[in-house]
């Protein structure tokens, strides 16, 4: 497989060398990266092996399913220009989100510098190999997402049109990668060292939320009744929109239209991605590399300010509320401290808060929105259970980080069951990152719907806590931030998220149904959830997490 992937770069040897890279070295570095991904996927322990072996398959499957959902929306569109315009917009948004959420760490990875930098390899070669590495996974993702749209296009617009569309998908990948490089370089100009790392983190979070907002607003603003016959007009600024010129290119080649407007689209489609990637390779990557080395050096010399969050009143209240057992206290404290400093955690968790807030807020901007109708409805249940998404993002976010070899300390401590560690960890994460947001939401909900909904707020909180903890205990028993993030795992969490959304909807629906059937359903649900939480914390977790399961996943050397 690796040989095959590497052979795909052979036709572009001239182009790669033109960008200042040494082709044999470029291929060798890329081969090394792909081999490392391959080894990582094979894993070390038994459980991790099972979990990671199918990661690429699961990821591809989830992306194809996502593509199916989008194609069902597209299938009714009659105009080919409009069809491809939406398809390319969807692709660009998905890829941009993937680069920001999953591949930034790969683009900014300096771990190999200590091995490759001392060798006589040009910076351009290293950077191009790094970009090519991301490009491989991004292309795979783009084709997974668009394969159904391509099949639909064959039947709707003919084979030639679909083939040209396939070609433009690849151009779209190149263009998006170029845009990401450009954006990151601009940010790199603004700061350096630790400040740059923080800036990058907040930028990623901001962009992820921005895309979600744009997507939600877009969905709510498009009049779906007219989409079938929608024909997008071409204004002067249409020429500046990448999905528009990709669509114009397809329309031109498949329908043999070569007027002035389409010739501009053709030129743009061919020139912009090629020029973009040339610019990236030749001029942007050397700057990128230099800045990247500064970033690494910055770490060594800067004294990092240490927060004293653990002394805060909020910490002490949460510790008293959540921790009863002495052996859970230290893990609770440890995780509380670490979560505030682990950038990968912040990057993967904080956008979820933005997503949920957008999902809640956007419907308020609909034309048909009526406040009186809202107050009369049970919509608060929908809002409360939307927070399930925030809760269940926590367990996933606690997994990955750069502490692969620090787990030995947990094993040397005289503790009969590692369950206490994991209980302490998830409680700290929940107390620090879920409770404050949920409390703020609860206040807003009580202001709109009145204090009568307080029992429902409590039930949803208990349900989310129960399932967040269960999800944490059911995933790999890896100590915090000890799983390495690899390019090949990008987007693998999608299947899990879909499953969790289903559980959230089911729990919300159960809550709604019970309330609908009899007024005192709360009296049933509160003790039910409390009992389940008690059982989980006292019995289940000790059965589920043993040293055997923990040893399978963690590396103590």
């Amino acid at each position: 497989m690796i040989r095959f992937l590497l052979s795909l770069f052979k036709p572009f040897r001239w182009f790669i060398e033109k960008m200042g890279a040494d082709y044999p070295q470029f291929i060798r570095i890329l081969e090394l990266k792909l081999t490392l991904d391959n080894r990582r996927m094979k894993g070390l322990g038994n459980n991790s092996k099972k979990a990671t072996e199918n990661a690429l398959g699961k990821q591809s499957f989830s992306q194809i399913i996502f593509g199916v959902l989008f194609a069902t929306f597209l299938i009714i569109v009659k105009s080919s220009f409009t069809y491809y315009y939406f398809a390319h917009t969807f692709l660009m948004v998905m890829m941009a989100m993937m680069i920001i959420s999953e591949f930034t760490t790969i683009l900014f990875d300096t771990s190999e510098n200590v091995i490759i930098q001392p060798l006589p390899v040009k910076g351009n070669t290293i950077s191009l190999a790094r970009n090519a590495h991301v490009l491989i996974y991004l292309s795979l993702m783009a084709f997974n997402l668009s394969v159904v749209s391509i099949i639909v296009a064959i039947f709707k617009f003919g084979i030639v049109s679909a083939l040209v569309f396939t070609f433009t998908v690849f151009l779209n990948v190149l263009f998006t990668l170029f845009l990401a490089n450009m954006l990151y370089l601009v940010i790199m100009r603004l700061a350096s060292g630790e400040k740059l790392k923080n800036l990058l983190m907040y930028f990623q979070i901001f962009i992820a939320i921005l895309f979600m907002a744009a997507y939600q607003l877009g969905l709510n603003m498009v009049d779906k009744t007219h989409i079938q016959d929608m024909i997008l007009p071409v204004y002067w600024y249409t020429y500046l929109v990448p999905p528009a010129f990709f669509s114009g290119f397809i329309e031109s080649l498949s329908s043999f239209i070569f007027d002035r407007q389409h010739i501009i689209f053709i030129v743009e489609t061919v020139v912009v991605p090629a020029f973009g990637i040339y610019l990236t390779g030749k001029y942007l990557t050397p700057v990128f590399n230099r800045k990247l080395m500064d970033l690494e050096q910055g770490d060594r010399v800067s004294k990092i300010k240490v927060e004293t969050v653990r002394k805060s009143l909020w910490y002490r209240i949460m510790l008293l509320t959540f921790v009863r057992r002495q052996e859970e206290k230290a893990p609770f404290k440890l995780l509380w401290t670490m979560t505030g400093r682990e950038r990968l955690f912040m990057q993967s968790f904080l956008p979820s808060i933005g997503y949920v807030l957008i999902m809640i807020i956007v419907p308020f901007f609909r034309k048909s929105f009526d406040m009186n109708e809202l107050v009369q409805s049970n919509r608060y249940l929908l809002i409360l259970y939307a927070f399930f998404f925030i809760g269940t993002t926590l367990p996933v976010s606690l997994l990955t980080g750069n502490n692969q070899h620090a787990a030995w300390v947990f094993k040397t401590v005289p503790l009969s069951s590692p369950a206490s560690y994991f209980k302490g960890f998830i409680k700290a994460a929940f107390a620090r990152f879920f409770i404050p947001f949920y409390m703020a939401l609860a206040i807003v909900i009580c202001c709109i719907w009145g204090i009568r909904v307080i029992p429902d707020v409590l039930i949803a909180l208990l349900a989310i806590y129960l399932f967040t903890s269960l999800y944490y205990y059911y995933q790999q028993a890896s100590f915090p931030f000890a799983l390495e993030k690899s390019a090949s795992q990008g987007g693998a969490a999608f299947v899990k998220i879909m499953g969790l959304m289903f559980i959230a909807a089911s729990l919300g629906f159960l809550h709604y149904l019970l309330l609908h059937w009899f007024a005192f359903a709360n009296l049933l649900l509160i003790p039910l959830y409390l009992g389940a939480i008690y059982y989980m914390n006292r019995v289940f977790v000790y059965q589920k997490i043993s040293w055997e399961t923990v040893d399978d996943v963690n590396n103590y050397s």
């Binding site: 240490v306 206290k329 893990p331 440890l334 401290t337 502490n403 620090a406 030995w408 094993k411 401590v413």
Partner: protein, 259 residues
């Protein structure tokens, strides 16, 4: 010898897949000694230490430490053991104080006691001012010092050290050597695995040499020297591990890269 046996290893074997790394090791270690555990790369030193510390659970043979069976009474053993691993890998986002507080609390020490001990220990290494600085900014030697302090927080009776002097500056090396001698005088046992022959020779009461997973020499340097007449431990090491032709190998090496 009147000191009680605190570590009793019988027929210890360990395999990684099909590769056998330990071939029936038998050892009895008494208290108040510094044991120098030496051997070539891949001889099985770190594997032995990790088994004795409870980091590796799968092995053949019987081990009792402080009279407790390592398989069934691991917790009792861990309470009295300190471990300094070969690579000083710590949670980078924490400060030494936070790391030691965690270790101390998990070992049942009061937070205030842990803090005062951490301060005192780090002060000896002249790192008191770094107590609240993130570990990410530390050099290898500084990390190693944090490891040593955290392993001694709970005043263990048995200390396993896997290359503890790695990365330390000359003054710190002397200080740690003195510290080990003092610990042994107080009745503590130090199981010291290292490649530094001169250090092992100077501080060890007993030297155990393993090669390819087997004990090939065991005794004090004086006793071993009586049998072999080697002028120092390094010479003895090279002879016993069958690597006496270093000159020829160096020449072959130079020839290989000059081609």
């Amino acid at each position: 010898m009147n000191n009680p046996t605190i570590v009793d290893i019988r027929n210890l074997e360990k395999k990684y897949g099909k590769k056998q790394v330990l071939h029936g090791i038998d050892l009895k270690i008494t208290s108040g000694q510094i044991i120098g555990y030496i051997g070539p790369n891949g001889a099985g030193k770190s594997t032995t230490v990790k088994i004795l510390c409870g980091l590796i659970n799968e092995y053949e043979g019987d081990i009792t430490i402080f009279g407790n069976d390592l398989r069934t009474q691991t917790l009792e053993i861990k309470k009295r053991v300190g471990y300094i691993p070969e690579n000083a890998v710590l949670y980078e986002s924490l400060t030494p104080m936070e790391f030691m507080e965690f270790v101390g609390e998990m070992r049942g020490l009061e937070t205030e006691l842990t803090r005062s001990k951490a301060e005192a220990l780090m002060n000896i290494f002249e790192m008191k001012s770094n107590l609240n600085q993130r570990i990410a900014t530390f050099s290898k030697g500084m990390r190693q010092k944090v490891m040593i302090c955290s392993a001694l927080l709970h005043n263990p009776d048995l200390i396993f050290m896997d290359e503890p002097l790695s990365g330390l500056d000359a003054n710190s090396v002397i200080m740690v050597k003195e510290m080990l001698i003092h610990l042994a005088r107080e009745g503590k046992t130090v199981f010291y695995s290292s490649h530094l022959m001169d250090v092992v020779e100077k501080i060890s009461d007993r030297i155990i040499l393993i090669d390819q997973g087997r004990v090939i020499a065991d005794g004090s340097f004086t006793d071993l020297n009586k049998l072999s007449n080697d002028e120092n431990l390094e010479k003895m090491f090279t002879r016993l591990t069958g690597n006496t032709n270093h000159g020829e190998k160096a020449e072959a090496f130079i020839n290989a890269f000059e081609k």
